[in-house]
Subunit: 340 residues, 2 copies
């Protein structure tokens, strides 16, 4: 408990050195590289206390100390000072994101940018449908019994589904359907849609009732219920930096986890407004990712949040820098979305 200022300074120094060198750090090296104003022996005593409290540990009896997950946690919460982005980084962000033609394009550029800047694995969630509202619904006749239902969300996401009608339909009826759907649904949040869709079916003229029923089913089942979240990933090659030291030599579990969209969504999809979430090692609920840390945040136009983004790396990561970058990128993307 009694962690006085110097002990905290020692912990900070250990974390910083270990992150930089990737090697267990000893008492002598510490006093040499940081102005602690005390001797190695004193530092050793402090280290013993820190170890007892579970903030650091020794890989083997006669080696230096390495921060534990708990140590990183303390470091992140209380010891790290926010590192402002370099002008070069700011410029990189702007240069990278202008000129995106498309939501797809925005997301792809963002995820690559994030991977490049942090030199880690980057994950970006497409704007969540659940958090979007309907901007427009379009029906495109493919044949007399087939329609393409296109939904355009205010976040720029566009989803389409092929709808197989129970009976042939004429062009006028399609127009009616389109009008009815748009009148009722445009502007509503996807999460509030179900009852409205229900009403839509009930109020539909008999003429188009069967078609509307089919349409509503597709709308609810594929767009609302299994609310189709999408994810973009980049920078997996960065997992191999630092040789086999990180991730105790096996990338396997990490790569497996990254293939599961559900897992990724859990990681970065539960963004709270304007917080940056840092999950360190063990704190992670997914077993495969116990050797990794995740820094994530939400993004969206203005103050609203429409999706999450973040990076994943070894617990031994540069938290202050990563946090700053993730935040900055999220803010830029938000601004970009606000313009549309």
């Amino acid at each position: 408990m009694g962690l006085d200022d110097r002990k905290l300074a020692v912990l900070r120094a250990i974390v910083e050195d270990y992150v930089a060198t990737q090697e267990p750090v000893g008492s002598k090296a510490l006093v040499e590289r940081h102005q602690l104003g005390v001797s190695p022996a004193t530092v050793r005593n402090d280290m013993a206390v820190l170890e007892e409290e579970g903030y650091i540990r020794q890989p083997h009896t006669s080696a230096g100390r390495v921060p534990t997950d708990r140590g990183y946690r303390l470091f992140v919460d209380r010891l790290s000072r926010v590192k402002p982005l370099s002008p070069a980084e700011r410029r990189a962000i702007e240069r990278f994101l202008v000129g995106a033609v498309d939501l797809d394009d925005v997301v792809h550029r963002t995820v690559r940018l994030l991977a490049q800047l942090t030199r880690q694995v980057a994950v970006v969630q497409y704007p969540s449908l659940a958090r979007s509202s309907v901007r427009h619904l379009e029906l495109v006749p493919i044949s007399t019994t087939r329609l393409m239902l296109v939904m355009i969300a205010d976040t720029g996401r566009v989803e389409q589904r092929l709808v197989e009608l129970p009976a042939p339909i004429c062009a006028d009826d399609v127009t009616d359907l389109r009008r009815l759907m748009n009148e009722k649904l445009v502007g509503t949040r996807l999460s509030e849609t179900p009852p409205l869709v229900q009403a839509l079916v009930e109020e539909a003229p008999a003429q188009v009732r069967p078609a509307m029923t089919t349409l509503s089913t597709v709308l609810l089942e594929t767009l609302v219920e299994r609310h189709e979240e999408r994810i973009a990933l980049a920078g997996t090659a960065n997992l191999t930096r630092g040789g086999l030291l990180d991730f105790q030599g096996s990338l396997r579990p990490i790569l497996e986890a990254l293939e599961e969209e559900v897992v990724l969504l859990k990681l970065i999809g539960e963004a709270e407004p304007s917080t940056t979430r840092v999950l360190i090692g063990d704190e992670n609920e997914i077993d495969n990712l116990r050797a990794a840390s995740v820094v994530s945040t939400g993004y969206g136009p203005g103050a609203t949040i429409v999706g999450g983004l973040g990076v994943l790396g070894p617990t031994r990561m540069d938290y202050p820098g990563t946090i700053a970058t993730v935040r900055a990128v999220a803010r830029y993307v938000g601004e970009l979305l606000a313009q549309n």
Copy 2:
């Protein structure tokens, strides 16, 4: 040169054993596990010839033999018998692919299926726009000066672009634009589109000429010229199978290559009709992939090809099995697309 039947049989046996065990195979083990009808010493002589011809090599002086890229090539070209799929695999394919709601869904399911069956990295190209034709063009007004241009291709692909108009436009004009574009472009292949689009602008009534000009620019620039190919990837975790033995211990270059869509397209996008292409190690043009092999083929409804798919793995892979699986999956996907 003088490779008689027995020497070929020896090579085949070496490849099969090495693929199965991942360990250099010696003469004694060979005669034990295969009915070659000769003694180890004879096999040794054959091996010496095979080595001289560059089909196998010794990792170190006193170890067994390992196939070279050239050896695999000979094996694939002349020695491997096609391995029919097991009924279980066939069922797996069908079960996996039915119930896809969406082109996106089809592609995602396919790539995961392929990764799972071959236990390797799978790559699937979305149906190429260049090889698709226009089924329908839709214009959705977003505001008075903004349109969403939606293009639906016969392959099921749907692309959308936001178009910023030079001047406000009324609903009737939008209807006109839509009609004009569809009359002229529906049914044409994307690759033949440019001159038609040109004509479209020239023939447009003065009233909608400026808007049509802008539209055509977007159409050409973002859909035709940089013909937007997309790729899905799965199974990267399979790269870690076989410990660090494959890929000489470093996944780095492989992962890097897999992040480059351009590279992937080059690998699987140049499909010839009804051929399965096998690239072994060195044969690969991409330096990063010199330690890997790629098995790819084209797919599409009926006999036409709209895109490529394939898998990437260590040169030490089960070629007959992989080839059979890749072909089968491609055929099923083709059938699936033909139904739409």
